[in-house]
């Protein structure tokens, strides 16, 4: 058993970023573990889509036609197993995403393999595969090993590993597998893209974002005004949206928007949980204000201050006036 198998993730005919990141992780591991690195694209046999999975470092790309372009957990589990049986890889890499979470653990249970999720670093130490993930709300790290496991399935954290630069020279092969009789399958109904309302965080260059520290719904208007004065787009973290204080379109994070065009991110009263970081940690200049000196946001911010966000806002308003 050798090699690394990646199961690609895609939606609406395009690969999701995580797939490239998995390829990047795989190629850095290849040196220590040994290849080959294969990417399996499970879908309706879309050759163009499959072609985009040909990253630098990838040795083989398999276009697997499972009969549907839409994600189904049971199908992906079966197909991954089938490909795995053929290729017999040592490691199977899947994204730690809504899709990946639905079948990667099932695949591991089926194989009896090693398993680690939301992995943020992998290494080979003394011939052993070792993974690192967060623990206790990501305040500490946990290192895990898989003694005796010839196969390890893992899901990797998004926006953490580097995408390889450059195209690969892999062979593209095709496979057809009929899963129409699979009885655990779901039936796809439809996708619903939330309506674009007002703010477009993904295009904003300057974002002022508030979190639980803002405490009351009644405090939001003044921060919204402050954002306007600064010329920033008003954003927020998940708890604000869950409480119904702002519409979903304002949410920065994994299940919200990624601030892809942002260059300045001002985070007020945001603790910086992983899913929020997903949406903003890449931003060039991050300024975080939070009275909790241990808040994870300070691990990704450029500048931080542990002062009261209302006092900060007062002072900033005074400067602007």
């Amino acid at each position: 058993m050798s090699g690394i198998l990646i199961i690609a993730e895609h939606i609406n005919g395009a690969l999701r970023d995580i797939t490239g990141e998995l390829a990047g992780a795989a190629s850095s591991l290849k040196d220590k573990l040994g290849g080959p690195v294969s990417v399996a694209v499970l879908g309706a046999g879309d050759a163009e889509l499959t072609g985009t999975a040909n990253f630098l470092g990838v040795d083989e790309v398999i276009n697997v036609n499972v009969g549907s372009e839409h994600f189904d957990a049971a199908t992906y589990e079966e197909a991954a197993f089938a490909i795995g049986e053929k290729l017999r890889p040592q490691v199977i890499l899947i994204g730690h995403t809504v899709g990946g979470m639905a079948y990667a653990p099932a695949l591991a249970a089926r194989l009896g393999s090693g398993f680690a999720s939301d992995v943020l670093a992998l290494d080979v130490i003394d011939g052993e595969l070792v993974t690192t993930r967060g623990a206790y709300g990501n305040k500490v790290n946990l290192e895990t090993a898989f003694p005796g496991k010839g196969v390890v399935v893992m899901t990797l954290r998004g926006a953490t590993f580097e995408v390889p630069e450059g195209k690969g020279t892999a062979q593209i092969t095709t496979q057809d597998i009929d899963y129409s009789t699979l009885d655990r399958k779901s039936t796809h109904v439809e996708y619903n893209i939330p309506p674009q309302a007002g703010v477009d965080l993904s295009k904003a260059e300057f974002i002022l974002s508030v979190g639980r520290g803002v405490q009351d719904e009644e405090n939001l208007p003044r921060f919204n005004e402050l954002a306007d004065k600064l010329g920033a787009v008003f954003g927020c973290s998940r708890p604000i949206v869950d409480a119904g204080w702002l519409p979903k379109s304002h949410q920065v994070g994994q299940s919200g928007k990624v601030a892809s065009n942002c260059s300045i991110y001002l985070a007020l009263g945001i603790s910086g949980a992983v899913h929020h970081q997903f949406g903003m940690k890449h931003v060039d200049t991050i300024i975080a204000i939070n009275t909790d000196t241990e808040a994870p946001i300070f691990n990704v911010a450029t500048y931080g201050a542990s002062i009261d966000l209302f006092e900060f806002a007062d002072a900033l308003e005074q400067i602007l006036d």
Binding site: R16, V98, G134, R184, P194, E218, L266, D308, D314
Partner: protein, 1077 residues
Amino acid sequence: METRELFWSLDGARILLFYVVGTAAIAIFLYGCWRHYAKYRRGASLTVEFDLWQGVKTMLVSVFTHRTVRKRDLIAGYAHAGIFFGFLIAFIGTSIIFIDYDIFKPIFGFSFWKGNFYLWFSLFLDLGHLALTAGLLVMILRRATWSLPKLNYMRSYRGETELRPKARAWQVEDWVFLLTLLVLEITGFLLEGVRLLSEPVDWAIWSPIGLAVAKFLSVLGVSPETATVIRSYNWWFHGILALAFTAAIPWYKAKHIIAVLGSLALRDPKALRRLPNVPEESDTDDEGSDKIGYADISDFTWKDMLNLDACTKCGRCHDVCPARTTGYPLSPRDLVLDLRTHNDETQGCASETIDLVGDVLDADTIWSCRSCGACQDICPVGVEHPAMIVQMRRHLVDQGEMDPNLKSTLDTIADVGNSMGEPARKRSAWTNELEFKVKDIREEKADILWFVGDYASFDPRNQKVSQAVARLLKAGGIDFALLHEGERTAGNDVRRVGEEGLFESLVEHNLAEMAASNPFARIITTDPHSYNTIKNEYPEFGDVAPINHYTELLADMLRDGQLKVKKPLNKRVTFHDPCHLGRINDGYEAPRAILEAIGCEVVEMPRNRSNSFCCGAGGGRIWIPDEPGAEKPSENRMHEAAELPDIEYFITCCPKDLTMFEDARKTSGHEKDLSVKDLAELVAEAIELDEISLVDLPPLAERLTDAVAERIADVISARLETALTNNLASLAVVQPALPPVTVPPSEPDTPATDAVSTLKAVAADPTSQAPSEVVAEKTQVVESAAPIAIQPEVALQPMDWDNLAPLAPAQLLDYDVPEKDGLRILVAIKHVAVLGDEHEFTADGCDIQAEFLEHELNEWDDAALEEALQLVEKAGSGEVVAVCIGPESADASLRKVLAKGASRAVRLWNDGLISADPLMIARGIAGVATKEQPDFILTGVQSSDHAHGATGAALSRILDLPHAAVVVALNWTQDGAIEVVRELEGGVRHSLSLPVPALLSIQTGGNTPRYATMRMIKKAKKLPIEVLDAESMLEGGGGYSVRRMYTPEQENAQMLDGSPQDIASFVANIIREKRGT
């Protein structure tokens, strides 16, 4: 002979007619009274003990001095006194005539209503009626021309712009009452006048008013003959009107004449100080008897109903209420009137069609109350509004109907014992700043136990006050101690919010801590809320020492010279009486005595003492967010203070007041006009506390010992570092977390001359304080060592592609699984850990030490539970069964889950599972599922502590079930597939359908988990938790084994220092640079 003829000129038939009408009138009156009585009988019985005799005495004093009517409204007070005494005299007069004419004369054959007796009688009656008339005229003038807001029935706080028909009817009622009485008075005097005109007598002067009317009529040219004619018509008019008035008394506003007597007699002297307990549930009947609070009008006690009827719509409570004043949808007057209207319609019966909360009253009305007591304090007739509101809240809480912020605050209090969500361990962290150690009553005895309270412990602004108070006590030589982490919030506001069960558990806890502690003579506190409940409510649950508010102690210390004022402040200040100290517990003088003693001139707030205006934090309102834009009571108070000329300080002596007013000072725009300070801070200034040294100086011998030991410690640490760096391998058996090199605890009797014995003492005692420099050294040493490979706790099952080892459910011992009756849904529950801002690792380096972790029910599992409960409710029958892998402490979360509606719980545990990975966990849950054969399994997407997000999917594979992850909505029509919506990245939603049975992992935000009150949790103790040994989970292995847990090197942000202005300025510059503006 001086007397007058009754029934003048009436023949027998007419007299009979009069008596018939009279009897009918009295019958109608009595019937009206009886109807009210019957209504009250349908009310609940009283739960609070009352002393009727004492109550009647108090009522008589109140009525005869008219103190309650005169309070803060002298004009209405005296006018009403005129009406009351006039009416009383008239009533006595008529009764005397009745007794004389209808009893004495027929039975004993003579009359006493004559002669001198008659003369004085006439005079008193005339004067009484004059007073009555004068009172009526004043009231009429007042009502007609003064446009008093309290008499205005328009509910502008509800956005009304014109009066409701019911309110118009009330106005009519008010005027009918006044005018009818006035007409009776006028026709009464007229009767006298025409009588004296047509039949003059020598003693006419004894009816001075009547005589004046007679003179006036004759001046107008009325002849005696005309007078006679007037007299006969007027007699019947006046008589019938008087009888009609009497008959009508119980049917409208006039009923207060009787109702008030009862209402005042039943006044609870401890109203709002001590709320009524919930009656004990009967053990036999689980279902119906567990009523808590008022769900319906029939739950109101008969005394409450009497209160409702006694209300005269005077509007004083409407005037003083801080909620109503600032535009919140609560007017105590309107609350009482709406309840009364409803009660009159249903006559004390519960209504099938009309909801108490929803139709009669709005929930936001009930939640607006601040429990300040201003309404019941000013009510002249003894209505006790606050307790009624708390009772209605109890029912709402029981149903889980409350603001989500309030729900989560109550959950937080139940978990960590304070409303801020701070770890309980840090409750007395504020004492670390002090120059001296504060005693722990659990370890040593003291004179005084200081019960600190939440805000005084955790809120930064209030911590400064606590520190000042601690220093003052120390300077004054007071022997005091704290409960430190043993203390939980006293629960005053938890009770006023209606969470009675949580309140009881807080009381039990605090009382137990106090009972288990060393002796103390009394308790003090800076928090009036804690003061109120410990003083008035705790004694009903157990013995508790007497308690004083710290202002009483400080006043005594200043008076007795324990604290000496060195520098009188000579400032003009104003003082805010806190509701729970002042109005509710009559504590006005001590703070003023203090201010005087320290040389402050107190300029009283316009609304002071019992009329003090609540800061708005009470009744749980500090935990409920306010509507944007509304004025807050604290802001209103700031405006009031700002009107006072030349005030330097606004003084408080309550932690919540300080918090609210420091805030309001800014938001009300008075930041430059007013400074808010606590009394303790001023006292500290006046006695020049800074100049007093409070450091505990250890005896000389101790100081010598410390100095020698420090030298030894330095030498040892240097040698250890060398040894460690050179000999890593030989430390394989040494625990990586070395016991700190310590300074031995000071023992004044043992001179430390022998270095070896000192070292032995050091090695043997790992609990002493470590000097900081040495600790830092040690930490460095450990981190440079390589991580030591740890033997996995559980051997993983080896496998490869040739030897696949699919996971199978754990083999568990059989237990009693009941027959399925409808749907069965299994919900996986985890009792998750919460890590605060400090941690230390366990000896094996694989986990964090338990003392640094708090625990709670996993938020995602709560969402899954809610989905499951809703599915069962929709199906109409079935059960939700909770499965948990966890140690005994996890039962706390399971109890909550059972309280919310799960029928059973199954818990698996074995100590070897401490580092179990999700695959192992999934096998355990699968083991239970094979026995339970559920129709659905719901899990949370992930647990908040480790967020693997894997258990659900792995479980679906082991059980071969269809599965969907990250579900935010589901819809099942009882047959066939289930429709499910999963939420993808970016908020995209994916709808799909799954065959049933299925496993779903549920995302938060898709539903609002219901609230389990402490009472429900206590009740749920009867529900079974099946505990199974899970050793079989360890065989068959899992997915990973732990190598180590460590604190990662963080790339940290560049932390900025300085004032908010400095930081804002820096940030503004960065923004300008980056944007090129």
